[in-house]
Symmetry: C2
Subunit: 469 residues, 2 copies
Amino acid sequence: MPLLDQLASLLGPSGLLTGSDMTGFESDWRGLYHGRAAAVLRPADTAQVAQAVRLCAAAGASIVPQGGNTSMVGGAAPDESGAQFVLSLSRMNRVRELDRADMSITLEAGMTLKAGQEAAEAAGLMLPLSINAEGSATIGGVLATNAGGNLTVRYGNARDLVLGLEVVLADGSVFEGLRRLRKDNTGYCLRQLFVGSEGTLGIITAAVLKLAPRPRQREVALCALPTAEAALALFGRFQQHDPGAVQAFEYMSGTGMALVNALIPGATLPLAEPAAHYVLVELATPREGGDLRAGLESVLEAAIEAEEVLDAVLAESEAQRLGLWMLREEHSEAQKRAGASVKNDVSVPVSRIPAFLEEATRVCEAMVPGIRVAPFGHIGDGNIHFNLVQPEGADPAGFLARDHALMDAVGAVVQRLDGSFSAEHGVGRLKPYMMPLWRGGAELEAMRAIKAALDPQHLLNPLVMLPRP
Amino acid sequence: MPLLDQLASLLGPSGLLTGSDMTGFESDWRGLYHGRAAAVLRPADTAQVAQAVRLCAAAGASIVPQGGNTSMVGGAAPDESGAQFVLSLSRMNRVRELDRADMSITLEAGMTLKAGQEAAEAAGLMLPLSINAEGSATIGGVLATNAGGNLTVRYGNARDLVLGLEVVLADGSVFEGLRRLRKDNTGYCLRQLFVGSEGTLGIITAAVLKLAPRPRQREVALCALPTAEAALALFGRFQQHDPGAVQAFEYMSGTGMALVNALIPGATLPLAEPAAHYVLVELATPREGGDLRAGLESVLEAAIEAEEVLDAVLAESEAQRLGLWMLREEHSEAQKRAGASVKNDVSVPVSRIPAFLEEATRVCEAMVPGIRVAPFGHIGDGNIHFNLVQPEGADPAGFLARDHALMDAVGAVVQRLDGSFSAEHGVGRLKPYMMPLWRGGAELEAMRAIKAALDPQHLLNPLVMLPRP
C-alpha cells in the first residue's frame, strides 16, 4: 500500500489533509517560504504520532513538524518537493494534569501557549512564559524553539521551565520522559537536547512545565536615561535590591520611541523631555503589603541622584500600566509604518550591551546615511532587537537591497563581542548558512554527530538548523 | 614511543604521577572501589588536556576524569586493570574572568567549589551552589554530576547555573562554548548534554556560571509539624508569599531529630515538645529594610492558626541561626553514631512526598522490626535522603546484609510514585545496573546512541552511568 494510503488509513479523514485543505500549512506566515507538502498529518494522540513517524521512516519520507506556524525563520515550512509531510499536533491540545503542590502542569504539544497560560491561571498559578505570538504558538513549538520573551529576565527561557517531555523519536519509538522531578541525576539530560532542537531530533508530544505563584503586587515605571551604560547600572540596582521581583526590564532607544510617539495613534510619551534611551521596568511579587512601590521609588531616587535616570513616570493604574507597556509593544508596528526595515535578533553578554549599541549604530549609520537605528528589547538578558529603519522618504526597495550587507555588518560587531546571531528566534531555514562561521569546528561536528545518531535517515525537519555538509 | 612516555613528554614531571604518588587517586573516598591506574595525568592547561586525550584516543586507552574524588557512587574511580588513566585538572584552578554587570564568573574546572564561592564573594556577589563536599569537590566535578544541595529550591541545580562550557571531546577536539549569553538559540544545547554526563562524553575544562546578588537580610526558623502534609502546605505558603526569598526548605523526621539530639554534643532542640516532623526554613533577600522577619512571622502565624505548625523558633542571632542549621547538618553524623545505616538518595514529585514517606516507612518497618527510619532532605525539591538506621543494639553486619533488599523495597515505592533512584548523586559505577529498569526502552537507547556518537571508542569513563549492552 502506498504511504499516503497507509497514513490515511491510520489517521482517518480528520487526521489527514491534502489539496486545498493544506492552505496555510505550506507557507510560513512571514511569506519567506512557499512550499508544497505531500499531506498534512493531524494525529489524535501520541500512539498515532508514533505510528505515523514509523510509517514515514519505513518509506524514507521526511516530516516537518509545525505548531502555530509563527516561526520568524521559516522553521516549520515544507520545501517545494511535494514529498514532505507536515505534522500538526493541533488535535492534541489537552491539559493532562495540573498539580498545585508541585506547581507543575502537563500539557499536550498542540495546545497554544495562551491556552496553557489560562489553564494555569484558572488554578491560581502562572505559566511564566509570554511571547507576542502566544495566541497561535503552541507548546510544542515554543519548546522546540526554546522561546524567550519579556519574562525571561525573571523566569528564564522555555528551556528553564521544562521538567519533563514526551517525545516521539525518528524511528517511531517514544521517549516517555514526562517526569516532574526537581532533582534527577539518572543519565543524560535528554529533555534539554530536544528543547531548542527545532524538530530535528524528535517530535515533542507533551511536556511538564514549572508554574509560578501569581503576583499580587505589580508596579511599572518608564525611565528616561542619558546613556546605555545608565540602563545597565539601573538594572544592577534592581538586581541588588529585589531580584525575585524584576519581572521585565526592557530597553528602547530614543529613535524607536520617537517613531512610536509619531506613528501610533493613542501612544503618548508621558515624560517632559525626550531622551536618547528608555527603560521600562516591571516589578511583581506574590507578597502582600504594598512594599513594592516603596522599593521601586527608593531605587529610582538613588538612580536619579546618581544621574543615571533623568526622569521617570510610575503607573498609577492598570490603564496607565498598559499605556506604558504599549510604548514598548508598538515598536514593531511603528517601524513597519515608517517604511522598510531590517531586523536583527541578537544577544551579547549583558555587560557589553553599551559597546554593542554604540559600535553597531556607528557602523550602520556610516553604511546608510539617514538610516534610523531603532534598537529595543530585553536588555536584562543581553538580547537586543537591533532594528534598522530606512531613511525617511527613501526608496524601500533600495534600502532592502542592502539588508544582507547591514545584517553582516551588525553580525561582525556581535561576533567580536562574543554574542549570538539568534538570541530567541532560532536558526530555521533562514540561517543555517551562518552556523559554520558562528558555531563551527568541534561544536558543529558534535551537533552533526548527535543528529546522525538520533535521526540516521535525516528525515526530521531536514532543512532547518544544520547546514548541508 | 609507548603511550606513557608520550604523555610524560607532553606533561612534564609535575604533570604525570605514577606508583605511590597515585595514592588517593585510585580508590574512592567511600572505600567502595580500589583500582589501579596506569598513571594520573595532571595537565596544566586546556591545550595539554586536548593533546593528552588525543594521545590516549590514538592508543585506545581509556580515561577516568577525577575532580575532588567526592563521588557518592564511585563516579571517578579507575578499575583494577592498571590500563586506565586518571585525569585530574587540579592544576587548572584559576578564575578566568568575573563580570559584575553580567553577574557571571568563568572558572577553570580544577578549582574547588569553595574557592569559586570565595571568588564570587570577593566581588560582592554569590555563587549560589552549596554542597557538603564543597571544600574538595571541583567545578568540573559538580558540573559533570549536576550537583544539587540546599540552595536548589531557590537557584536550581548546577545545571541551571551554567551559561557556557569549554569541553575537550573524546577525539581531543575542543568545544569552545565559554559563552555568557542569557539567550542564544543557535543549534543544539550541547552544554546541557555535558552537564550531568559524569565524564562520559567529554572533559569539562572551564565553565561560565551565573552569580546572584548577596543577601542582606536573612531569617531562619525551625518548625515542628504534625504531618508531612503540613510540611508541604507550609512550603506552599512560603512560595505564595515571597518565592524569591525561600533560600532553603529542609525536612527532618522526628526520628532523625531525636538521634541528633541524643548523639551530637551541643545539639539541643529549642522546642518545648518533640514532634513527628520538622522543617527548617531559611529566607534571604538582597532587599534592605527588615521586612523579611515580619513576612516570616505572618506566614508562620497563619500556619499555626491552621494547625499546620505546632511550634516554631526563630533565630535571633547568627549563633542561633548556625545552631538551628546544625540540627539539620548533623543528621548524617548522628546516624553514623547510631550504628549501621542504609542510604537512599531519592526524589519524587513534590506533591507525593507525604505518600512516599508513609509507604516507604511502612514497608521498611515491616521488613526490619525496630528499624529507625530517619528521612531528611530537600523537601522543596522533592528530594529525600531516605536513610535507614539499624535497630538499637542489633548486629550492624546483620542489618547491612539486608541493604539491597531495603533499597529495592524503597525503590519500588519511588518508582510507583514516578520518582528517581538518584536525585543528586548520579549513577557512577554503583548504579548502572538500575538504568534498564528505570530509564530503559527508547530513553536508554537514545543515551547509548549519543554516547556512541560522541565517544565512538567508548574511552571516556567507560564504567559509569550506562550499563554494558
